[in-house]
């Protein structure tokens, strides 16, 4: 039953999704692409692109989109796919709802204490590793092609990767604008 599986998967992602939207992407990718095979890496990358270009939290955007695509890929119709996206989004928010209410009600004064802060301090370097893993897993043939299959696409993809990293990381170009440039480059060079 895909809806039940979607619910538990996104509940887990909501419960363990530390480190903001990007930290959460690593969990979403592992669960939806590597474990459940609901989406291909290329589809997941497209979802991240659209989630980034759309206003609103990237976690909510990508959960909604993944829920839709997962059900759609399982050969269900549009209505069921909408239900899938609602399931994923609700399941992602539910752990937050439970945790934040519990914290407000009972634990708020413990949040600044040494034991709790130690746990958070331990998570921070690991989240960097999660993000690095997400990047490495996305560097595959689906997103870049390979030098043997399609050398031209591989060369252009690598160039676009370097240009975007340099443009957003060093020149501080707006990521959305950078995605638009890449889309134009793809249209002209990879049609």
């Amino acid at each position: 039953m895909i809806f039940l599986d979607l619910f538990f998967t996104f509940f887990k992602i909501g419960l363990f999704g530390f480190g903001g939207g990007y930290g959460m992407l690593s969990l979403i990718q592992h669960e939806t692409v590597e474990r459940a095979h609901w989406l291909s890496t290329a589809e997941f990358t497209d979802i991240v692109a659209i989630s980034q270009m759309t206003p609103g939290p990237i976690g909510i955007n990508s959960a909604t989109y993944c829920g839709y695509t997962a059900v759609h890929n399982a050969e269900y119709g549009t209505l069921m796919s909408v239900l899938g996206s609602a399931t994923a989004t609700f399941a992602l928010v539910l752990p937050s709802l439970i945790l934040m209410i519990l914290i407000s009600k009972l634990f708020i004064r413990y949040m600044k204490t040494q034991p709790v802060q130690s746990v958070f301090a331990g998570l921070r370097p690991a989240v960097v590793g999660l993000l690095a893993a997400a990047t490495l897993l996305l560097c595959n043939a689906e997103n870049f092609s390979t030098p043997t299959v399609n050398p031209w696409q591989f060369f252009i993809s690598t160039a676009l990767f370097i240009a975007t990293a340099f443009g957003t990381g060093y020149l501080r170009i707006n990521p959305i604008r950078m995605i638009c440039y890449a889309a134009f480059a793809g249209l002209v060079l990879l049609y």
Binding site: Y22, T54, S118, P125, A126, A132, T135, S157, L190
Partner: protein, 157 residues
């Protein structure tokens, strides 16, 4: 997102005082889940208990949900269009770079140096090469952080 929330919640509606808001932001950021949703739940719960929390979280998620849904329905019809497909062949490597760059920014903020760089390296390799679930990495890192902070760090100084 933070300035937008602060403007509405602290300055306009005066639901939460400035200092308390800073505390809530810090907690919402270190907790799991979507930051905007977490802070919305805090404020909703503070004002109207569980019903308030339900209202604010629903309100924060709904616009994103509807916009993405519209795009998803639209995009699934045009995915195989050769023009759209070519554009996404260009977008995909760019998106990978957009995830690579924050990795380094986050490393700076987490104060990753020579002594602790093994933590992200080992975590990334376990996930990437051995297919270990990131959830296990989170659990182990949280536990290790607790043990380090409680038993090892006090003996170091």
């Amino acid at each position: 997102m933070i300035p937008l929330i602060e403007e509405e919640v602290v300055n306009r509606h005066k639901w939460v005082a400035k200092e308390e808001m800073l505390d809530l932001i810090a907690i919402a950021q270190s907790c799991p889940g979507v930051f905007a949703i977490n802070i919305a739940i805090f404020i909703g719960y503070k004002l109207r208990k569980v019903r308030g929390a339900l209202a604010t979280s629903f309100g924060t998620a709904l616009p994103s949900f509807l916009i993405i849904l519209a795009i998803a329905i639209f995009f699934s019809a045009f995915k195989d269009n050769p023009v759209i497909a070519a554009m996404f062949r260009g977008i995909r490597p760019a998106v990978v770079a957009l995830i690579a760059v924050p990795t380094f920014r986050m490393a700076q903020r987490a104060k990753i140096g020579w002594t602790n760089c093994w933590i992200p390296l080992v975590s990334a390799l376990l996930i990437w090469l051995l297919g270990v679930s990131p959830i296990y990495i989170i659990l182990v890192a949280g536990l290790a952080g607790y043990l380090y902070g409680m038993y090892i760090k006090p003996t170091e100084s």
